[in-house]
Symmetry: C2
Subunit: 245 residues, 2 copies
DNA sequence: CGAGGTCTTGAAGACGATCAACAAACGTGG
DNA sequence: CCACGTTTGTTGATCGTCTTCAAGACCTCG
């Protein structure tokens, strides 16, 4: 059943981790998505202030939501991996308060807002799962607020690594404790509200503590339990539990 | 029409700022809310990890979502004012990843989750507006990430003051540039990821610049335009525009 | 009037930023 | 396959914002 779903394959897999999906719902979801396009590294998938008539589903590649300050500083507010909608909230918000950039070459599927609205009318349960999906985004925002606001840089970095690993695991994109991490230290810095220099030194500390290995676009967690403890990482906020929603 | 709505009065007013509400929808909303209870200052409205069968609507008073770290540090991830659902997301998330505390004496109305589910089944448009409401929460989270991650303390504080003023204005709880601000500097510090000492000094700077007056639980903005410029405050992220959703 | 919370102030120190330079890795074209 | 330029990662030195600790002033409410 997980074959041949095309662009929605990983999304379906992720949603099935939240609640059971009926066959009709899977079909409805697959029908919601139209064409697929590609976006190159560092290109905007959606620009800030834009009003796209569709939401973008990340099929392949990594992306980030970001906001710019007047002095050019950038804050990344979310990191997205395959199976994530990068702007499902655009369906109801209409005008986006942030941009979305491709962190590496991406394949994007488009879900027209009128069809999403159709789901809320004809498939209330599936509609609730999409709503749920945006609630997990918000939950991740809150966790990042804690990391950025109250944790030391090293611990926040460890936390981010735990989170990404856990999210990739849910869609089958990990190789045990190892996973592709195709983004730069500058981008991590913009996500954690730090300077690139300090991210570099923090990552060195994690390596010196033998918690991770991080080379050429790939991270390996050497001691999962210790890293989680160091980061005070509790995966509850990712809500990867199957319950009737 | 805005009289006699009881506990949902301010919520209805806020939602009407997002989109038109039909009479039937207002009635459905009013019927969703059952009893009202009171919660005293510093008491938990919802405890972290709880699974309440209802969502809490703040009728009167201020509240905050927060998370605690092991060393006792607290990060406030959202500040709520009357008319806000403090945990509408609990409807679908079930277990809360954070606590909610009353910042002053509060009156809380309860919306059972089964009735909220009924709204998504029988009133899809109203359901979308509730979804929308949680999307604005998430948008505020993102803006806070920017403030905490990339702005200097003084500017972040100014930004928070602009936000609260704008949100209170939408529900008619401002007196021109003045509004009740019934929370302590410690609580502001926990929201901005700062120490209370630094919040104190930052607030002094805002006062020295003649941007605000802040005395005995009340703030007055002395120069709205200058304060907004200083905070780089753009209210778009609050989505106070009426559009078909 | 007293007590506890809140605000304010000062001094010292830490964490992270900034600036600048260099090394390593990568991709591209010759 | 190598040469080259560009991006990314790394290091050192200095600086600044914010934290911590501690004490005192203020204020509010019983």
């Amino acid at each position: 059943m997980s074959h041949d779903l095309g662009p929605v394959r990983l999304l379906v897999r992720k949603l099935q981790g939240y609640d059971e999906l009926s066959r009709a719902e899977v079909v409805a979801l697959a029908r919601t998505v139209s064409s697929v396009r590609t976006v190159g590294t560092d290109q905007d998938i959606v620009a800030q202030g834009e009003r796209p008539g569709y939401s973008s589903l990340l099929v392949e590649g990594w992306a980030a939501r970001y906001k710019l300050l007047k002095d050019g500083a950038r804050q990344i507010t979310a990191i997205h991996v395959p199976g994530d909608f990068v702007d499902l909230h655009g369906f109801l918000l209409h005008e986006l308060d942030h941009g979305v950039v491709a962190l590496c070459d991406c394949r994007i599927a488009m879900a027209p807002h009128e069809r999403l609205r159709g789901i809320t009318e004809q498939h209330p349960h599936l509609g609730r799962l999409l709503w749920f999906n945006t609630l997990v985004d918000a939950s991740i925002h809150r966790e990042w607020l804690v990391a950025i606001g109250r944790m030391a840089a090293v611990n926040a970095l460890a936390h981010l690594i735990c989170e990404i690993h856990t999210r990739l695991e849910a869609i089958g994109l990990t190789d045990g404790p190892r996973f592709d991490f195709p983004i730069t230290q500058v981008e991590v810095a913009d996500a954690l509200g730090l300077s690139n220099v300090h991210v570099n030194r923090s990552s060195q500390e994690l390596r010196a503590r033998n918690l991770i290995r991080w080379t050429s676009g790939m991270i390996e967690i050497l001691d999962v339990d210790q890293l989680k403890a160091f980061a005070q990482f509790d995966p509850l906020y990712l809500y990867q539990t199957r319950e009737p929603r």
